[in-house]
C-alpha cells in the first residue's frame, strides 16, 4: 500500500523496474563514473594536484632542518619581531614552520619557478590557507609534507591558519612574497 506498510506485492523483488527509473539510475551511475575519471584525468593532465610526498618526522627534527635553511638563506628581517625573510633558491627546498601562533619564516619566491615547500607543525594541527589564491592544506605535527608550488602571479600573499589551534588562532598570519 504505502511506505509505512509491508509491500503489497509479496514478491516485490520480482517486480519490473520502470524504464524511467532505469534511465535515472543509469544517468546517476554514468555521472559518478565521469566524476571518477575527472580526478584521474586531472592527475595526468591537470596542473593542480596535491603532492603525495610526506615523511614521518618530529618537531625537533623538522625545526632543525628549518633553522638550517633559514640560517643559509635569510635576506633581511621584517617587523619589530625581526621575522626573517628567506629567499628560497629557485627550484630548491623551502621550509615553513607552523606553530602557536605563527607561520615561520617569511618566504620569498619568484614567479614561474617551482619550489618544494616543506610543511609541518610544532604543536597542534594547523591549516595552511594561502590567500587570496585560496589553496588550503592541512598541516599536522609529526608529518613533513613536501608540496611543489609554482606561483603564477607576483604579489604579497597571506597565509591564514584555518585549522582551529587555540585562543591565538586568529593572529596566526604568515606571509609569502612573490617577485
Amino acid at each position: 500500500m504505502s511506505a509505512i506498510l509491508p509491500p503489497s506485492e509479496r514478491l516485490w523483488w520480482k517486480q519490473p523496474i520502470d524504464k524511467v527509473e532505469w534511465a535515472w539510475i543509469g544517468i546517476a551511475f554514468v555521472w559518478g563514473m565521469i566524476m571518477f575519471v575527472m580526478m584521474v584525468y586531472w592527475h595526468v593532465y591537470g596542473k593542480q594536484n596535491l603532492s603525495n610526498e610526506a615523511y614521518k618526522t618530529t618537531p625537533e627534527m623538522f625545526a632543525a632542518k628549518a633553522e638550517k635553511f633559514i640560517a643559509e638563506n635569510t635576506v633581511r628581517t621584517e617587523t619589530d619581531l625581526q621575522i626573517p625573510v628567506v629567499k628560497v633558491p629557485a627550484g630548491g627546498d623551502g621550509y615553513l614552520i607552523a606553530r602557536l601562533w605563527n607561520w615561520y619564516p617569511i618566504l620569498e619566491l619568484e614567479k614561474g619557478q617551482t619550489y618544494k615547500i616543506h610543511l609541518s607543525s610544532m604543536d597542534y594541527q594547523h591549516g595552511f590557507s594561502l590567500q587570496p589564491v585560496n589553496i588550503n592544506i592541512q598541516v599536522l605535527p609529526g608529518y613533513e609534507h613536501v608540496v611543489k608550488m609554482t606561483p603564477t602571479k607576483s604579489g604579497t600573499y597571506a597565509i591564514v591558519c584555518n585549522e582551529y589551534c587555540g585562543i591565538g588562532h586568529h593572529t596566526m598570519l604568515g606571509r609569502i612574497y612573490v617577485k
Binding site: I4, R10, W31, N49, M149
Partner: protein
C-alpha cells in the same frame, strides 16, 4: 511483560505503551538540546558577523564547541532514537523489546550529554566537536561522548530486538515496510559507526588521563572521520526514511518501486565509507590513489543512492497526486499539494534543499583536487548546514507536526504560525548555507574568531565581497535562529497548552497489520493499471543534474586558475 497498545483514532497508528514513552522522552530531550544548540547558534552567528563580533575569542570557541556537540550529536541522536522506536514498534505494531534496557540507554545518553556539556562550559574543553589531537580536552568531555555512544548502541540493540519480536509474534506479513527498512539501514550503519567511534574515543580518553602517551594526528583524523562521516550517512538514511514516511502519511504515497528504493538504502550500507576519505583530501599522510579510490568508488555509489531517493520520493508523491486526479500539465500535482500543511512544506523544502544545495556542494567538496579550494573554509559549515540542517533537522521538524497530535495527543497551537515556520526556517537556512559557501569560496576560514586578524604581525584585507557575504551570513543566521526558536515555541507550547486529543482505544493485545489480498496471493504480476508516469519528477531530476554538472565544472575552472601544485 504486561503492556498496552493504543490505536490513534486520527492516524490509525498503534503505539505500544513503553515505546510511546521512550519516543516522547527522546523527542523532548532532543528538543531541549536543540534549544541549547540554538542559543549557541545565535551567539556564534553574532560573533562571526563582522559588524557585531559579540563574544571574546575564548568564549567564542567554547560556545562553538557546544554548538557543534549539542546539535550534531545530542539533538540529532535523541531524535533518531525516537525515529527508530517509531519505525520498529509502531510501524510493525509490536511490543518494544527489553524496555528496561531502552531506558538504560536513554539515561546513559542524557548523563553523557550533560557531562560533556559540563566539561565544555567549565572552559577547559574548547576543542570543537572533532577534538583533533594533540589539542586536549578534560577527560569528562570524552567520557561524556563515550557514554552517549554506549547509550545509543543500547538503543540500537533494542531496535534490532524489536524487529525480531515483530517477526516472532507475526505482527506483519511479508517484508517490513520501506520506512522500517530505511531505519534499519540507518541502525546498521550506526552500529559500525559507534564501533569506529569507540576505536578512537576510548584511546583519546585514556590519553587525556595520562595512560597513553601519544596519539598520531593523522591516524586520529582517519579513525575519527570513520565515525564522523558515517554518522552523516546515518542522518541521511534517517531523514530519507522520514521523507518516505511523510509522503506516505500525507498522500498515501507508495514507493514507485520497492526494489529500487530498498536497493538504494542498501547502497548506503555497502558504501558507507568506513575510510571517510573526503575529510582527508588535503592531508599529508594519505596517498592520492587512496583518496581517489575512496572518494569515487565508495562515495559515488552513496551519491547514486541519494540521487535515486531524490527521484523516487517526489516521484511517489507525484504518482499519488496524479491518481487523485491532479493530472494537468507537468506540475499540477505539485501546485495543488498541501503547501499550507507544515509537515508537507517542511518535508519538500528539506528534499529540494538537501538535493540542490547539500548534495551538489558535498560532492564538489569531496572531489580530490577541488577540495584544496575549500578545505577548512567557511564553505564546509555552509555545505553541512544544507545537509544536516535543511536536510535532517528540517525533516525532523516537519514530521513533528504529525507526531504532536498522534504521539503526544495534543493539537498544535497557533496553526497560522505553524504554516509559516518551515518556510521561515527552511528558506533562511538555505540562504545561510549559500552565503556561507560564498564566503568560503572567497577563502574565509571556518572556526575563526576575527577576520580582521587583530594582533597579528601582518595585515591581510579580505575582498569586500567576503565582508558582504559574512554580513549576509549574520542576517540570515539570525532569521534562521528565529525560525528554529519559533518551532521550539510551537512544539513546547502545544505540548503544554495544546488542546488535548482523544487517545483512542487501548487494548492489551496488539492488532496485527491486516494482510491485504494482493500480498496473500503471492504471485508476481506487473500491475499495469497501477502504473503512473511521473514527468514532473523527471523534469525536476534533470534540472538537478544540469545544475550539478555546471557547478562541478565551474569549480574545475576555478582550480585551473590557482598556483601550480604537484
Amino acid at each position: 511483560m504486561a503492556t498496552t497498545y493504543r490505536t490513534c483514532p486520527s492516524s490509525g497508528l498503534q503505539f505500544e505503551n513503553n515505546a510511546e514513552k521512550l519516543m516522547r522522552w527522546n523527542a523532548v530531550v532532543g528538543v531541549l538540546w536543540l534549544l541549547v544548540g540554538g542559543i549557541t547558534a545565535l551567539l556564534v552567528i553574532l560573533t562571526r558577523w563582522p559588524a557585531i563580533k559579540l563574544l571574546p575569542a575564548d568564549q567564542f570557541y567554547m560556545i562553538l564547541t557546544a554548538h557543534g556537540i549539542d546539535m550534531i550529536i545530542m539533538w540529532i541522536l535523541h531524535f533518531e532514537m525516537a525515529v527508530l522506536y517509531f519505525a520498529s514498534s509502531t510501524l510493525l505494531r509490536c511490543r518494544l523489546a527489553t524496555p528496561k534496557l531502552a531506558w538504560l540507554g536513554f539515561w546513559l545518553m542524557v548523563i553523557g550529554g550533560i557531562m560533556c556539556n559540563i566539561a565544555i562550559f567549565q572552559g577547559e574543553s574548547s576543542v570543537m566537536f572533532t577534538s583533533y589531537v594533540p589539542m586536549q580536552a578534560a577527560p569528562h568531555f570524552y567520557l561524556g561522548i563515550i557514554l552517549v555512544a554506549v547509550g545509543a548502541l543500547v538503543g540500537l540493540g533494542v531496535f534490532f530486538g524489536t524487529l525480531v519480536v515483530a517477526k516472532k509474534d507475526k505482527t506483519y506479513q511479508g517484508s517490513i515496510p520501506l520506512v522500517t527498512f530505511g531505519a534499519m539501514t540507518a541502525a546498521i550503519i550506526a552500529t559500525f559507526t559507534i564501533l569506529a567511534g569507540a576505536g578512537i574515543l576510548i584511546p583519546t580518553f585514556l590519553w587525556s588521563v595520562g595512560l597513553i602517551k601519544e596519539i598520531d594526528a593523522q591516524l586520529y583524523r582517519m579513525v575519527w572521520w570513520a565515525l564522523g562521516h558515517s554518522s552523516q550517512q546515518i542522518n541521511v538514511a534517517a531523514h530519507v526514511s522520514v521523507w518516505y514516511l511523510t509522503a506516505a502519511v500525507i498522500f498515501g504515497a507508495k514507493p514507485l518501486s520497492e526494489k529500487v528504493s530498498r536497493f538504494a538504502f542498501l547502497l548506503y550500507i555497502l558504501f558507507l565509507q568506513l575510510a571517510s576519505a573526503h575529510h582527508l583530501l588535503s592531508d599529508p599522510g594519505m596517498s592520492a590513489e587512496w583518496k581517489v579510490l575512496n572518494t569515487s568508488y565508495f562515495m559515488y555509489f552513496a551519491v547514486m543512492a541519494s540521487m535515486i531517493h531524490g527521484f523516487t520520493v517526489p516521484g511517489a508523491i507525484e504518482a499519488a497526486q496524479r491518481k487523485k486526479g491532479y493530472t494537468n500539465g507537468l506540475f499540477e500535482w505539485l501546485r495543488k499539494a498541501p503547501w499550507g500543511n507544515p509537515a508537507f512544506s517542511g518535508m519538500f523544502i528539506s528534499l529540494v534543499g538537501f538535493g540542490f544545495l547539500g548534495g551538489i556542494s558535498g560532492v564538489v567538496l569531496g572531489t580530490e583536487q577541488i577540495n584544496m579550494l575549500m578545505h577548512n573554509t567557511f564553505y564546509v559549515p555552509g555545505h553541512f548546514h544544507t545537509t544536516v540542517v535543511v536536510g535532517t533537522t528540517l525533516a525532523f521538524m516537519s514530521i513533528t507536526y504529525i507526531l504532536v497530535p498522534t504521539l503526544f495527543r495534543r493539537e498544535m497551537i497557533l496553526p497560522k504560525l505553524c504554516q509559516i515556520q518551515p518556510y521561515l526556517y527552511g528558506i533562511s537556512m538555505s540562504v545561510l548555507g549559500l552565503v556561507m559557501m560564498g564566503a568560503g569560496t572567497l577563502g574565509v576560514s571556518r572556526r575563526h574568531w576575527d577576520m580582521a586578524f587583530s594582533g597579528a604581525p601582518f595585515q591581510y584585507e579580505w575582498p569586500g565581497a567576503a565582508y558582504l557575504m559574512m554580513g549576509l551570513t549574520g542576517i540570515f543566521g539570525v532569521i534562521a535562529v528565529l525560525g528554529g526558536a519559533l518551532w521550539i515555541v510551537l512544539v513546547v507550547g502545544s505540548l503544554l497548552f495544546g488542546k488535548k486529543l482523544d487517545g483512542g482505544t487501548v487494548s492489551d493485545k496488539p492488532t496485527p497489520i491486516p494482510s491485504n489480498t494482493k500480498a496473500a496471493s503471492a504471485v508476481s504480476h506487473t500491475d499495469k493499471d497501477d502504473h503512473v508516469a511521473v514527468p514532473g519528477t523527471v523534469v525536476l531530476a534533470l534540472t538537478l543534474l544540469v545544475t550539478f554538472v555546471l557547478y562541478y565544472f565551474v569549480n574545475w575552472k576555478y582550480l585551473s586558475e590557482v598556483w601550480l601544485l604537484s
